[in-house]
């Protein structure tokens, strides 16, 4: 490389090399701070949302001072990209102060939000001190659909306006849509909406069951793609496999040995979905928690039957999702296997 290159930090040679070095040397370059489990929405399928009462039963949110102390240690250890998420980050009254301090520390900061609370007042300071990137989750293409999914009557109008404000401020921005039965009919309209706004949008139907005390019934709202007629996929190009083969499922995890989440109550995990192992950062300190997490992950069980499964090349086998679904990374539910079988079938005309 030349002595100096200006990079946006994705899909470039430098960043790819950094990721390889990070995995090799166990450097936690990617951190996620889950600032709160509170949210101004009440989505039917949320994996993490807790009421204030439920939060009090489990502990307390970390203070800004605690988050900054963790960030300082994480920076010393090599954290570069920091994602702030929830719940909803803007429900924290002290979010602006925390964000402003974190912005001075030398991180590439991503903000994840539902967008509802992003208004002119927020944009006044956010535009002056912009994040590296911002993402809103889109829940529908109308207020009616937003109410059906989130319980909020004017969600779509508010979020649409928030998108305009973010784009006006020239903040790098994209949309993600989580599709369930209640907004499934809006999918094409959501893509059309994103086109009109000139923002990147992608959707997912991958719902994760609730974790860490959340009570929403994801399964009741999940779009079951195994019920789709296989005829609908007849023109799909055939493939021998759609997921790479890995001797261990953890090797396919972007966070393995180079990323972590710290939950709203101070537990360090591999990701938001995998609640065990979880190390208490306040008790152990960042370094010891990171080292213990790395060691714990080497002991994670994997489902034995996956090793000889016919559908292995069509099964994601994310350890976090397996654990959220079955209670353990070493177990896989029948419904999970049926999904892999279905995907295998549509790629093999069976």
């Amino acid at each position: 490389m030349s002595d100096c290159d200006f990079l946006a930090g994705t899909l470039d040679h430098f960043t790819e090399e950094l990721k390889e070095i990070a995995r090799r040397d166990a450097i936690p370059v990617n951190g996620i701070f889950e600032l709160t489990a509170r949210c101004n929405f009440d989505c039917r399928m949320c994996y993490v949302h807790l009421t204030p009462d439920e939060i009090r039963k489990q502990g307390r949110e970390l203070t800004n001072a605690e988050w900054l102390a963790i960030a300082e240690k994480a920076r010393e250890r090599g954290m570069l990209e920091l994602t702030l998420t929830g719940g909803e980050i803007f429900v924290r009254r002290d979010f602006r102060e925390l964000y402003t301090e974190l912005k001075q520390m030398g991180f590439l900061i991503n903000l994840m939000s539902n967008g509802y609370l992003v208004d002119e007042r927020v944009m006044e300071w956010l535009a002056e001190d912009p994040p590296y990137a911002m993402r809103f989750t889109l829940y529908g293409a109308s207020n009616e659909t937003y109410r059906a999914v989130t319980g909020i009557p004017d969600g779509f109008d508010r979020v649409s306006h928030a998108i305009d404000l973010v784009k006006e401020a020239d903040i790098p921005f994209y949309l993600m849509g989580l599709i369930i039965k209640e907004n499934n009919a809006d999918l094409l309209k959501m893509y059309e909406f994103a086109r009109e706004k000139k923002v990147y949008f992608r959707h997912s139907i991958a719902l994760v069951p609730p974790v860490r005390g959340a009570k929403q019934d994801a399964a009741a709202h999940r779009v079951d793609f195994t019920k789709f007629p296989k005829e609908a996929f007849k023109d799909l190009p055939k493939a021998e496999r759609i997921y790479r083969h890995h001797p261990r499922q953890l090797l396919d995890c972007a966070h393995y040995r180079r990323g972590f989440v710290v939950t709203w109550n101070g537990k360090m995990q591999l990701c938001s979905f995998l609640s065990d192992p979880a190390e208490d950062v306040r008790e152990l300190g960042f370094d010891r928690a990171w080292e213990k997490l790395l060691s714990d992950l080497e002991q994670l069980p994997e489902p034995e039957k996956c090793g000889t499964c016919r559908y292995e090349g069509f099964c994601r086998r994310c350890p976090g999702v397996l654990a959220a679904e079955s209670g353990s990374t070493g177990r896989v539910t029948d419904s999970y296997c049926r999904q892999a079988e279905f995907v295998y079938g549509i790629y093999h005309n069976e």
Binding site: L7, I21, I27
Partner: protein, 88 residues
């Protein structure tokens, strides 16, 4: 000459980068990727120095001739100026 304020020089593993902070993120999206030489020059330019001072420092640190050192500095300055991060 010096680089504009509002960057933090970091080393992660064997990789160097200058990350914009605060309001500098309005001008520079992402980060400035540096190799070891680039990080060395960047650090020098965090203080106001003349070109001759920087060349002398490069010659002290690296086993290169004056022409090579001057060329490296010229290319570095040009890149910073192109991206608007070279101060007066």
């Amino acid at each position: 000459m010096k680089v504009k304020s509002g960057f933090i020089l970091r080393k992660i593993g064997s990789k160097y980068m200058a990350v914009p902070v605060g309001e500098r993120t309005r001008d520079v999206h992402g980060m400035v990727a540096l190799n070891e030489t680039g990080a060395f020059i960047w650090q020098l330019l965090e203080e106001d120095r003349t070109g001759e001072e920087v060349i002398e420092k490069i010659l002290e640190e690296y086993d290169v001739d004056r022409e090579t050192a001057a060329g490296a500095l010229a290319r570095f300055k040009a890149k910073l100026a192109e991206e608007g991060v070279l101060g007066e």
